[in-house]
Structures are given as structure tokens and as C-alpha cells.
């Protein structure tokens, strides 16, 4: 068996494994045989695998004597709730992360100001203070609460004071 044939076979086998065990016990062998015949006939393996995948989905969702319609509906509802809950968590955490960013993505940017010696600035109205990063404060009102914008504002103000 060549490598592409083996890959096609694996694709179909993977799709067949998606069926419920009851179905696999009953039809898996003949379904694999049919897939081999169709592939030999020129049908793309991907389309066969896709058809089996869709069939597996229908098989899981179809109501069975031992699996009432309400059970299927409850399973679908639970899946939808889980999906919605996860989506809500992601949506909530994304703005929180953005607001919590206090540094630009590339790391802190040191102010490019040369410090003056203490003696030279003693009579100046501006007292010498060593340049150091300032803890970010929440800016309310004028600017959106995005961390990067806040840092830019504070960095500029700090540079002036130096």
C-alpha cells in the first residue's frame, strides 16, 4: 500500500471511529470495504470521510428507542450552555487583560533624560529626583482605560519633571 493510499485509509478509519460503538459493530467492516471500492473508483477519500463524519453526527443526534428525544435535546442544550459559558468567560477576560496592562508589549521604556548632579540643581525650583518608573494610575474620563495609553501619558509627564 502506497503512502497516499495509507493516508486515505487512515482518514476514512478516523471518520468511522466517530460512529457510536453499536453502529461500528454492525457496519464498520462493510463501510470500510465500500470506502475502498469508492476510492478505487475515483471518489476523493476526503469526500468519503466527510460523508461518514456527517453520518456519524446524524447517528449520535438521532433519537433511539433507548435514547429519548428529550435526552438528545438535553444533551444539545447542555453543550450549547457550556459553549455560551466559555464564550462569556473569554469575552470577560479579554478587556480585563487589556485594562490590566501597565507596560508596553516590548517592556518598560526608560526615560532618555540625563540626570543632573545634585549640586547643580540645588537652587533650581525643580528639585532633582531620580528618574524611576511611576506606578500607573487609573485615568478616568478623557481617555479609554487602556494600559498603553496611560503609560504614554505618565511617561511624558515624568520626562518633563526631570
Amino acid at each position: 500500500m502506497s503512502a497516499p493510499e495509507a493516508r486515505e485509509g487512515r482518514m476514512v478509519d478516523a471518520a468511522l471511529r466517530c460512529y457510536p460503538a453499536r453502529w461500528r459493530r454492525r457496519h464498520a467492516d462493510e463501510a470500510a470495504e465500500l470506502a475502498a471500492l469508492l476510492i478505487a473508483d475515483g471518489t476523493p477519500a476526503a469526500s468519503i470521510a466527510w460523508s461518514y463524519l456527517a453520518g456519524a453526527a446524524r447517528e449520535w443526534l438521532a433519537p433511539r428507542p433507548g435514547r429519548s428525544l428529550s435526552t438528545v435535546a438535553a444533551a444539545l442544550l447542555a453543550a450549547a450552555c457550556l459553549l455560551g459559558f466559555s464564550a462569556a468567560l473569554v469575552a470577560e477576560s479579554a478587556p480585563a487583560r487589556a485594562a490590566g496592562t501597565t507596560q508596553p508589549p516590548s517592556g518598560p521604556v526608560p526615560p532618555k533624560i540625563k540626570p543632573m548632579p545634585p549640586s547643580a540643581g540645588s537652587s533650581s525650583p525643580h528639585q532633582f529626583t531620580p528618574c524611576r518608573p511611576v506606578l500607573p494610575r487609573q485615568v478616568t474620563g478623557a481617555f479609554p482605560a487602556a494600559g498603553y495609553s496611560q503609560l504614554s501619558i505618565q511617561g511624558t509627564a515624568h520626562a518633563r519633571s526631570c
Binding site: 453502529w23 454492525r26 457496519h27 467492516d29 462493510e30 463501510a31 470500510a32 470495504e33 465500500l34 470506502a35 471500492l37 469508492l38 469526500s47 468519503i48 466527510w50 460523508s51 461518514y52 463524519l53 456527517a54 453520518g55 456519524a56 446524524r58 447517528e59
Partner: protein, 108 residues
Amino acid sequence: MTAREQDVLRRAGEASVLVLVSLADGPKHGYALIQDVKQFAGVELGPGTLYGALDRLERLGLIESLPADERRHPYRITAPGAAALRAHLDSLERVSAAGRLRLQLGGV
């Protein structure tokens, strides 16, 4: 029982009807069914759709599986399956006749 109630294939889907029509002239396995349906209806049944229909029809008792020939299972229509197909085709014929008559009357 009304004709509508007798037509158990009404909700079974098009693939099930095509499979029953194909099996009406003798037992066939999956590959032969796909080829036959393609020939008489111009519909290419996917293998997933085919096995869905075979499984459904078997559970309804309308077809039965024969002993396997190597890995292939031939399927055969049962007596209730033949009756269900007949009822469904009668129903389709009535709808078809009504549709044709109304098209004629309407002059469309």
C-alpha cells in the same frame, strides 16, 4: 388506517425511498446500491447517507441484511418494506397527478 398513516416512508427521507426502490428488484450490497441509485435517479448517495438509510430501514423492518459475502453485506427488501414502498409510491402518484392537473388548469 388512512393512506397517509400507511405511508411509513413519508418521514424516512429521500435516501431511504431511493434505497428501497433500488432493492425492489433484488438484493444488493452498498456499492451496487450507490451505482444503481446514481443510474436510475441521477443522485449520488454518499456512503454516510447510505448507511444512515440502511440502518433506519433495517430498524423499521423494511429491509434485512443477508449473510456477508466476504466483507460485503447484501440487503434485501422485506414484505413490509415492499408494502411501504407501494404505499409511498401511490401517495407520490396522487400528489403528482394533482400537481399536473392543477398546472394544466392554471395554464401556467
